[in-house]
């Protein structure tokens, strides 16, 4: 234990002495939340819609009012005919087009499901998904309201349940927690260990009676703390700046963050055991952490919109399961995730066992 503490204290001294890296490690998550949060918030608030109202009825005007009164969408263009829809989308004058066909009001009155057409620019998949969900939800709610007023018709349920206002920061903040934890813990630990190997200081340590477990523990302890600090920064900023809810228990959240940090540390240790140089370690760490936790986790691209093989690959990424957990804790207040917990625990066990075993105490 004395040895573990000596190593941890030394590692902490490195971190504190390197002011620039420390600033990056603490300010990057803050900046990311503010930037991403604000950018996506803005983007959605100003969802530009092209409107083609063929019905020109009280009901159709009511629908458009409901759409724009939310503050997320503006009708940036009123279209004359269907031929104008495609060029507008193509040129990016609006992100989505809403077509209210003739007979909309009549069908509503008769209590039938009124057909609407929503066209979304799919080139930005994430925004498109959010935009289409948003329009779907508004239209469905409006349908339900008007349908109820006319006391008839099947009531379609809005598809989006736990983020009913489609407030995007609510989705971004959990994703950022996963991303930053992975990056800080995996990237920084792999750099810290590879640097010792390159500088020859590892050789010096290996002549002392330190065991691999002591070395690994002492080395990662400060990064666990740094990761936890970063997670707290992101969550608090999300809460204070964007009102991201915290429906569940902080303790449950902290426990799962810790589990995820362990996994990230395992990844970092494995990389440092294999990497031949600092540069290789950095590139490997970025590839192994940033890309999967952004692209293959449901953070940027919804899993539902992926082809099956890719979706299966996503299931192998710790970030995927962590995202489900953290979103559910924040937005739904859920605290029990048997499947995801099992998946994460298994991954953590495999990774950490492999990492400790590959951390040899000689130079070969």
């Amino acid at each position: 234990m004395k040895r573990v503490l000596a190593i941890a204290r030394k590692e902490l001294a490195h971190i504190l002495r390197d002011r620039r890296s420390l600033a990056v490690a603490l300010l990057m998550p803050l900046a990311m939340v503010l930037l991403y949060g604000a950018a996506i918030d803005m983007e959605l608030r100003l969802l530009h819609v092209g409107l083609l109202d063929e019905d020109c009825s009280e009901a159709s005007r009511e629908l458009v009012r409901a759409l724009t009164s939310s503050g997320f969408a503006v009708v940036s263009e009123r279209l004359e005919n269907r031929a104008a829809v495609e060029p507008g989308l193509r040129q990016g004058r609006f992100l989505a087009a809403l077509i209210i066909p003739t007979g909309f009001a009549r069908q509503l009155e008769r209590g039938e499901r009124a057909p609407l057409q929503i066209l979304v620019d799919g080139s930005d998949a994430a925004t498109a998904a959010i935009a289409s969900h948003y329009l779907d939800a508004v239209v469905a709610l409006e349908n339900a309201r008007q349908g109820a007023a006319s006391a008839a018709g099947p009531v379609p349920r809005p598809r989006v349940w736990f983020n009913p206002q489609l407030r995007s920061p609510d989705f971004v903040v959990p994703g950022l927690v996963a991303l930053i934890l992975m990056m800080v813990c995996a990237l920084l630990t792999s750099i810290a260990i590879t640097r010792e190997r390159e500088n020859g200081t590892l050789e010096q340590i290996l002549t002392t009676p330190v065991t691999p477990i002591q070395m690994v523990l002492g080395k990662v302890l400060p990064y666990v703390a740094l990761g936890a600090l970063d997670a707290a920064i992101i969550l608090l900023t999300g809460k204070l700046a964007f009102g991201v809810p915290m429906a569940g228990s902080w303790w449950v959240l902290a426990a799962y963050c810790l589990l995820f940090i362990m996994i990230a540390l395992g990844v970092g240790l494995l990389i440092s055991a294999r990497a031949s140089s600092l540069r290789v370690a950095m590139i490997a760490a970025i590839l192994a952490t940033m890309l999967p936790s952004m692209i293959l986790s449901g953070f940027v691209f919804p899993l539902a919109s992926m082809p099956v093989p890719l979706r299966l690959l996503c299931q192998l990424m710790p970030a995927t399961h962590f995202l489900v957990i953290i979103r559910s804790i924040l937005l739904k207040g859920q605290s029990w995730f048997p499947l995801q917990t099992l998946a994460l625990a298994l991954m953590g066990f495999v990774l950490i066992t492999a990492a400790v075993r590959s951390f040899r105490l000689d130079l070969e």
Partner: protein, 248 residues
């Protein structure tokens, strides 16, 4: 061949047929050594002769391909953990932490050797003035002149009072005065009963050693006291001895 480890009274360093191969290349080729306690043993040889590789095996950093060794009474390999408590190692490259202060480096190495902070304080208070580092405790190790760095590395390697010190080119690249001061420290240790196993490319330093071995292409080609080597090769200086032995 088997070595009977004698915890007390046995030689400080004992090697029999110690060999290291990297693939097909043999860096250290079946060397035999026996260094009694308290001796200053000089380990000479041209660049690439295999000195560093041999020392790394003796410290348990590299696994021997063949042969056995016994250091401070412990067998290298099976007893490496205990062995490491009783040896100090100073590598050829300066390998302390440049971004930590002198004090922090000392505290760290004291800590990994299992010394309590109080014990570290006591030893640092006694040791640093002797290394002429007392005034530089708060300085970053990276900003020290090379001669000071080397003394700091020596200090960190002997904080835990090892029985055997392995010094791999401890004085490379510094002026004669700094080298002289470093050797005073080596003598001090030797007088206190510590065995010092030292490599060097300076022939004047070879003269300071109790006995000297000369390595070439992974083998020990000569081993005797400096005077004995000069007599045996009828040369006047260690420089000439070295050239005669390695050149032939």
């Amino acid at each position: 061949m088997s070595i009977v480890a004698l915890p007390t009274g046995g030689p400080a360093v004992l090697a029999r047929g110690l060999t290291k191969r990297f693939g097909k290349f043999t860096a250290v080729d079946a060397i035999d050594l026996e260094v009694p306690r308290g001796e200053i043993f000089g380990f000479l040889g041209a660049n690439g002769a295999g000195k560093t590789t041999a020392i790394r095996m003796l410290c348990g950093l590299l696994k021997p391909s063949a042969g056995e060794a016994c250091v401070a009474g412990y067998r290298v390999g099976p007893e490496s953990e205990r062995l490491k408590r009783h040896i100090g190692y100073m590598s050829q490259r300066f390998s302390l932490y440049d971004d930590l202060t002198v004090r922090e480096n000392v505290a760290f190495f004291g800590g990994v050797y299992g010394l309590s902070p109080r014990r570290v304080d006591e030893r640092a208070a006694a040791l640093l003035p002797r290394l002429d580092l007392a005034r530089d405790q708060g300085r970053l190790a990276g900003s020290l002149p090379l001669g000071y760095k080397q003394r700091l590395a020596l200090g960190c390697a002997m904080l835990h009072k090892p029985r055997v010190l392995f010094l791999d080119e401890p004085t490379g690249g510094v002026d004669p005065l700094a080298r002289r001061r470093f050797w005073d420290l080596i003598y001090e240790q030797s007088a206190a009963g510590v065995t010092v196993f030292v490599t060097t490319h300076y022939m004047d330093e070879a003269e300071y050693c109790g006995r000297v071995s000369i390595m070439a292409q992974g083998r020990i080609v000569a081993l005797d006291t400096p005077a004995g080597l000069k007599r045996g090769t009828s040369r006047r200086s260690m420089q000439d001895v070295f050239l005669a032995v390695v050149g032939s």
